[in-house]
Amino acid sequence: MDLIELKSAWNLLQQDVISNDTVEEDKIKMSVHSKSKSEISKIKRALHIKFVMASVSIVFAAALAFLSIINPALNPLDFIFSPIESAAFLGLMALSLAAMVYLNLQAYSKIEAVESSALNLKENLQHFIDAMQKAIAFNIYSDVIITPIIFTWAYYAYAFSDHPLDFDGRTALLFILPVLFGVFSYLLGKFVQHLKFGKYLDRLSGYLESLQKN
């Protein structure tokens, strides 16, 4: 089958399309109001949920930190931390969550920009891959930020409940643990994201490469 034969088959297919696939305006209208099932839309929805959760948590953590300082009786973590420790922990959590929200917004706005654009195939692939990478980076780094804080403070509460801070092994661990947890979270996050999106991104990068070989 050469190109001319392909063209005649294509014309036949067009007739088939006209007689079998044509839909009414109502179906187009329904599609306009439907929910997207694309990978990027699912990521966008997840980012949106995380944004709302993180924003609420920031307000909550900051309010509790403030309350712990002005009224020690309201310390919500008094079973493990003193009011000052609670305020430091909650304040650090609020700051970390704010960093998460910043990364989240960056990824979200990239996706929004890709969704509302009508770029050519090459540029769209570039932007799409970039937006996906931003969302993946958000997923990895949000864990890298939060996990060490939670585990290190849990260790601090356990190890220093009846010991003062001193220059010993326990204190050294207090500095080593965040790094270890951070590295572990990064590697685990990278592995999980690779399992989820690695092959998808590899495919798209391959297509982009084939368009760049000008």
């Binding site: 305006e25 209208k29 509302s116 090459k122 799409f128 399992l195």
Partner: protein, 167 residues
């Protein structure tokens, strides 16, 4: 009538007039009816989201090809879950085979067979070529030079020739 409603009406009318483009893209990239319907819906949705970006600088059909092909290229069906402890890894399947619907005309079957060995970018260029879109417009839609469109078409021809030989 509120402006948004009016825009939506105008958009639906324009899409309705050129819906053949979307169906052809769906036929080119999907190997079953369910997938075709999903892709059709996804393309309409994406066209609507990017409709504000259509300023009439290019032809409506050219804009439609661009958006529809972008959606089709990014669309993969997740398949063959592999497990790593509690984590799942997905394979992303290319629409490799001819549709299972079975066409009465063997020329259409042969067309699908020929297309099945092309990757998604090659399919896009092939579709535009078969639709008699001028090289200049193909280059604009794909974001490559006209010369590279010709190079791509030569490669596609060679690939098609090989497919036909092996059959």
């Amino acid at each position: 009538m509120p402006e948004k409603e009016q825009k939506e009406k105008e958009f639906i009318r324009l899409v309705d007039e050129s819906q053949g483009i979307i169906h052809k893209v769906c036929r080119m990239y999907c190997d079953d009816e369910a997938h075709r319907e999903d892709l059709f819906q996804e393309i309409i949705l994406q066209l609507w989201k990017s409709y504000p970006s259509f300023k009439g600088e290019s032809k409506f059909s050219s804009w439609m090809y661009r958006v529809a092909l972008n959606v089709a290229i990014q669309d993969f069906r997740k398949e063959k879950k592999r497990r790593f402890l509690f984590l799942e890894q997905f394979e992303f399947k290319e629409p490799a085979s001819a549709p299972k619907t079975g066409f009465k005309d063997e020329r259409i079957e042969a067309l699908y067979k020929a297309i099945s060995n092309l990757d998604k970018i090659e399919r896009a260029i092939m579709l535009l070529h078969l639709d008699e879109v001028p090289n200049e417009e193909i280059a604009e839609i794909a974001g490559i030079t006209q010369n590279y469109v010709r190079v791509k078409m030569t490669r596609i021809r060679t690939k098609l020739a090989k497919t036909i030989k092996t059959d």
